[in-house]
Symmetry: C2
Subunit: 250 residues, 2 copies
């Protein structure tokens, strides 16, 4: 028996082995980090909130035909997920300019990006998760060119689904970070989590640039009421219909 | 008369207007900066050395069919150059991994890059000249996609010519930065300078990773004998034949 062997402890989750080599447990923590772990703290209840939001969004994506690592959620902070080999790329989809894109390019926060921008970052804490060009991905051999293309397509497909869903919740999906893994058959599965830790979410009912923030930027920039914002995202996500209505239903 | 109006003073050169709006004077300075001007100093004689090396290399490139802004060199630190609108992209060609590529990606210094890597950086001191992806170039509207393609082609063509030339000098052209400008007809001309300030040059007669350095890295990393290294590059450049021998001449 090997049910509880800790495989890996990350900044926001701990992974445990199960009896089945194809399944691992992902336990969501309240710990929060920002700016490549230079800032550390705790967001009370974050583990449960992010596990519930991620569960809801993984179910939504699966229903829309996107393969994810999610199997089920046996406890409020625990997901059972498929074992995958994580691709060392952070795939970021941006609908509106914010964060490092603005700091690095001088583009004003709030600039709409149409078509959405898909960017790749090297998942490497020691290097500070640097931006990658397609040539750098190739030289570092982080993914095959066909995989990069597939990641780009998947990221845009996921963005379409999530943008519509959050819009129904009265939330603008500004940008978000995805991670993918390869299963035993070398198929790409969406992995990690989708939560206010990994998305920028703006409340459509607010115009004030600080009040509208419903995501980890409240923690990053000390905007206060971090727990409240995360709880409000969860309430909106659970209140919204799971499937977006199709054209014929509208 | 407007012969001496200063148009711009950069980190390494001053530009002056002339009576002819199509021609400006570029005066090379001894001032040296590194790490986005956080480190400042003077390299005695650098202005003359870089003006002479750049003159030689611009002549070589013109002879090989590359259009440059260079017209002539009326004094040891002064070039007459064609007036251009500088494209706000620093085009970097890398034959061997070094510098920021290694710091940002963890790739070991000295890793051969084949084919050579062409990278674009935003020419913007306030932002620290950040790396650009093709999407970011498009979103920031820094150059048209056809211009980016043309810059890539020109950069590789220039790399072919310079790599062969420096090889004849017993010098390995590790990487270098180019700037281009648009003339009145919207044609791209190679601009700025090509010198130990803008190239990484390794002495092929040395294997020691510090002794082989013949470029601004001696200043950046306090390796000493900066002036001597620049002088030796000039001597080798002037000693080498201006045109590389064609296959039939070998």
């Amino acid at each position: 028996m090997n049910t509880n062997q800790k495989l890996y402890e990350g900044k926001a989750k701990i992974l445990y082995a199960t009896d089945d080599a194809d399944i691992i447990l992902s336990v969501f923590k309240d710990d929060a980090t920002a700016f490549n772990a230079q800032k550390r703290g705790t967001i009370r209840g974050k583990g449960e909130v992010n596990c519930a939001i991620s569960t809801h969004l993984f179910r939504l994506l699966e229903a829309e035909g996107v393969r994810t690592h999610w199997i089920d959620t046996p406890s409020p902070t625990t997901m059972r997920v498929r074992t995958v080999t994580i691709v060392p790329l952070e795939v970021v989809v941006r609908n509106i300019a914010a964060g490092s894109l603005c700091r690095q390019t001088g583009l004003p926060v709030g600039t709409p990006l149409s078509p959405p921008l898909v960017e790749f970052y090297y998942k490497n804490d020691d290097l500070g998760d640097p931006l990658l060009t397609s040539d750098r991905i190739r030289i570092l051999n982080l993914a095959a060119p066909s995989q990069v293309e597939q990641l780009q397509t998947l990221a845009l497909q996921i963005n379409n689904i999530l943008t519509k869903f959050f819009d129904q919740c009265g939330i603008t999906l500004v940008d978000f970070k995805l991670e993918f893994g390869l299963d035993g058959k070398q198929s790409l599965l969406l992995a990690d989590e989708i939560s206010p830790d990994t998305c920028r979410l703006w409340d459509q009912a607010e115009t004030d640039p600080e009040r509208r923030v419903m995501d980890k930027d409240r923690f990053r920039h000390d905007l206060g009421d971090v727990e409240g914002a995360y709880q409000r995202v969860l309430a909106r996500v659970l209140g919204a219909p799971l499937r977006s209505p199709s054209a014929s239903e509208v």
